[in-house]
Symmetry: C2
Subunit: 209 residues, 2 copies
C-alpha cells in the first residue's frame, strides 16, 4: 500500500477517535509506520490532510446521496419524512464496503468537524459539496410543504445535531446499551432507531409561537 494511503487510513481512525486537534502528526505517522515528514511531503500540511480524509468519504458518498434524493424529488408521489431520511441509510452503509466501519468513522469525523477547528470543516463541506444540502432541503420541502423555510432551517440543524452527535459517541453508547440491556446492536441498529426520532422531530406540528 502506498505511503499516502497508509497515512490516510491511520489519520482516519485517529481523527475519529481523538479529534483533529487531539491527534498529532507523530501519532499518525508512527501508527502508519511512515516517516514524520511524509505528511508534509504528500499533503502539504495537517489541514490539507484533514481535508483529504474527509474528501475520501465525501467523494464516495456525495453522488450516491444525490441520486437517492433526486429519486425522491422527481417522484410523483409525496414522500414521507421517514423515506427522505431513509435515503441516507444505504449510501452511508455502503461506506462499510469501501472501508471497515466506514459509516461510523465518517459520522464521527463529521461530528469532530463541527466542534473542533472552529467551523472550518463546516465551511469546507458546504462549499465543496453544496448539492447534498440543496437536494436534501428540496426533498424535505416536498414531504412537508407546510413547513416554513425558517422553521425547516432550524429543524434540519437540530437533525444534523442529533445524527452527528449521536454517531460521534456511538461507540460509547453502544457499549453502555450492550451492558445495560445486553442487546446486540451495531451502527445500522442505531441508524434504525434514530430515523423515527428525527422524522418525528422534523414532522412536529408547527408551534403557534
Amino acid at each position: 500500500m502506498s505511503t499516502k494511503n497508509k497515512i490516510l487510513d491511520a489519520a482516519d481512525v485517529l481523527f475519529a477517535d481523538k479529534g483533529f486537534n487531539g491527534t498529532s502528526l507523530r501519532e499518525i505517522t508512527s501508527q502508519a509506520n511512515v516517516n514524520l515528514a511524509a505528511v508534509n511531503y504528500h499533503f502539504g500540511s495537517k489541514k490539507e490532510l484533514i481535508k483529504s480524509v474527509m474528501s475520501r468519504y465525501m467523494d464516495e458518498l456525495s453522488p450516491q446521496l444525490e441520486s437517492a434524493l433526486l429519486l425522491i424529488c422527481q417522484a410523483k408521489r409525496k414522500p414521507t419524512l421517514h423515506e427522505v431520511f431513509s435515503a441516507f441509510i444505504e449510501p452511508l452503509l455502503s461506506l462499510n464496503e469501501f472501508k471497515e466501519n466506514g459509516t461510523s468513522t465518517f459520522l464521527q469525523l463529521l461530528g469532530r468537524g463541527y466542534t473542533d477547528s472552529q467551523g472550518f470543516l463546516r465551511w469546507f463541506l458546504t462549499t465543496q459539496y453544496p448539492d447534498v444540502f440543496t437536494n436534501f432541503t428540496k426533498a424535505v420541502k416536498k414531504a412537508y410543504p407546510e413547513l416554513s423555510t425558517e422553521e425547516m432551517f432550524w429543524r434540519l440543524h437540530f437533525t444534523m445535531g442529533t445524527i452527528v452527535f449521536t454517531m460521534s459517541s456511538s461507540e460509547a453508547l453502544i457499549d453502555i446499551a450492550q451492558n445495560d440491556f445486553d442487546n446486540k446492536l451495531d451502527i445500522a441498529g442505531v441508524i434504525e432507531r434514530v430515523i423515527p426520532y428525527v422524522s418525528a422531530g422534523v414532522a412536529a406540528p408547527i408551534s403557534p409561537l
Copy 2:
C-alpha cells in the same frame, strides 16, 4: 474580584469558544490579567480547573432541575413530554442572572465536554450529579410509559445530542438565521423551537423493528 473568580470567568468564556484542549492556560491567565502560575496555585491543574468551571454551573442548576422534575413526577396528572422538557427552560435561563449569557455558555461547555477530552467530563457529570439523570428519566417514563427502557435510553441520548449540539453552535446558527430571515432571535427563541422538536422525537411511535 478574587483571582480565583477572575480565572473562572475567563476560562468559562474561552473554554466555551475554543474547547478545553483548544484553550491554553496562558490565554486564560492573560485574559484574566493574572499570573500564569495562579491556575496551578489555586486549582492544582488544568483538569481541575475544567471541573471547577463546570461545577459552578451544575451546583446552581442541579437543585433547580431536581425540584422542577420532582414536581412533575409527584403530580397526579400524567404530564406531556412537552411539559417535561419545558421543565428545563426556567432553570437554564436562570443561569443568565447568575452570569451574562450563562445559558448558552453552559450548553456550549456541555457540548465541548462530550467531544473534547474523550469523555472524562461525561464521567464527571454522571458520577457527580446522577440525580438529574434519574429524575429526568422518571419524568419521561411517566409521560410515556409505553416506551421501553432501552428505547428511552436511545431517545434521551438523541435528545441530549440535539440540545447540546445545537447550543454549542447556537451563536453561528443565530447569525445565519438573522441574515437569511432577518428574524430577531435569541437563545430563548432557539429553546422555544427545539422543544417541540425533541418532544416529538421522544414521542415518536415505537417502531416494530
